[in-house]
């Protein structure tokens, strides 16, 4: 079933990390993996959060786990025997974390070996990093060809993202990093009460690859264990996937830096009234 594709040179290992916990790394990994699979790419995602396994749950494969990453590392099974094929996305496989071990059960070198094996078979290998800057993070970024930094438009998340970017710049391999800003509330940005995508990109000075709006369907999809393609967030993930493939996809939503004419239109169309008073402030 998993014959080598014979074009591993172009295959990529992408680590999703953030520093701060709770910003949506796992949902980003799950939804981005699904989006790439929908685009016809073969995807393997690795849960590197040993001890706090969750990618399996978000992707709805939790009941089919037989072996995990530590079983592979410790030689109790072959890599192929630990991979779980997604039922709705036959091109998507999950390598689950061990639940009853800790981060030290896998070394960065072992992680590199697993990622290399998967790189030979899959177009994309996505690694879901644990929060923090310790061993688990080091494991997750060791094999990375590129890194996606997930943050929220929130001071603590942005600060931690900056720290992580600094640490990635110190890695020997120096994989390029791009930014995903998750859970943006466009309406709050418009009111001047939330950092915009541009603000965050300015502050962190790294390239943006996606803006994901706050969207309750992300939670609902997690409840069901089935990524949602057609929601606003689902579309944002589709766009990120296409940008990963090198497409130039314009930013359609949640980008609050509006041009003069857009503001003009909004001001006179009356839609401005919905966001509160236009004239009295």
């Amino acid at each position: 079933m998993m014959q080598p594709m014979g074009r591993s040179a172009s295959n990529r290992v992408i680590t999703i990390t953030s520093g701060k916990g709770g910003v949506g790394k796992t949902t980003v990994t799950a939804n981005l993996s699904a989006a790439l699979a929908r685009l016809g790419r073969r995807v393997a995602c690795i849960d590197a959060d040993i001890g706090l396994r969750n990618l399996d749950l978000i992707l709805g494969v939790e009941n089919r786990i037989v072996n995990d990453i530590v079983d592979v590392v410790e030689g109790r099974c072959q890599l192929q025997q630990a991979l779980i094929r997604h039922k709705a996305y036959p091109e998507l496989y999950v390598l689950p974390a061990a639940q009853k071990r800790d981060k030290t059960a896998v070394s960065p070198a072992q992680m590199v070996r697993i990622a290399d094996d998967l790189r030979a078979q899959f177009d994309f290998v996505l690694i879901d990093s644990p929060a923090g800057i310790e061993r688990g993070f080091k494991n997750a970024v060791a094999p990375a060809d590129e890194v996606l930094i997930v943050t929220n438009p929130e001071v603590s998340a942005v600060r931690d993202a900056d720290r992580i970017i600094g640490m990635i710049e110190l890695l020997e391999k120096r994989p390029p990093s791009r930014l995903i800003i998750n859970r943006v509330k466009a309406e709050m940005v418009r009111r001047g009460e939330m950092l915009s995508a541009d603000d965050v990109t300015d502050i962190l000075s790294i390239q943006l690859i996606g803006v994901v709006p706050e969207d309750e369907t992300v939670l609902i999809a997690g409840n069901r264990g089935m990524p949602e393609a057609n929601s606003r967030s689902g579309q944002a993930f589709n766009e990120i996937a296409r940008r990963l493939l090198g497409e130039n996809v314009p930013y359609t939503h949640s980008n609050p830096s509006q041009g003069f004419f857009k503001r003009l239109t909004r001001l006179f169309s009356g839609s401005g009234a919905r966001q509160g008073s236009v004239f009295d402030e």
Binding site: G166, G192, S196, D199, I203
Partner: protein
């Protein structure tokens, strides 16, 4: 009415928490990235000013020494205006004895 123009020019709500957040982040990241606490930066500034003052008179009230972010690099940027040697009262650097009777 002014807020109408502010909105049109996109300068709405400068005092909102969005701007506060941005400013606070920019400041704290200077410290985070350089690993220099604010007191140390202040001490360094004072010493730089003291050293330069030993050689040339400087306009102390216009000195600006700041750590700035340019892309992801830290820069120490200093604007230190020198006091012109010949001003009202003709202060001279060389301690010359020219009498001034203006």
């Amino acid at each position: 009415m002014s807020s109408f123009w502010e909105r049109l020019l996109g300068r709405r709500n400068q005092t909102g928490s969005r701007n506060v957040a941005k400013e606070r982040l920019q400041l704290v990241l200077v410290t985070d990235r350089s690993d220099l606490p604010p007191e140390t930066i202040q001490r360094m500034k004072d010493e730089i000013i003291a050293v330069i003052s030993k050689y040339v008179p400087i306009a102390h009230d216009k000195v600006e020494i700041n750590l700035e972010q340019r892309q992801r690099d830290n820069w120490l940027v200093a604007d230190i205006p020198l006091v012109r040697a010949i001003q009202s009262g003709s202060v001279s650097l060389t301690d010359s004895t020219t009498a001034d009777d203006a």
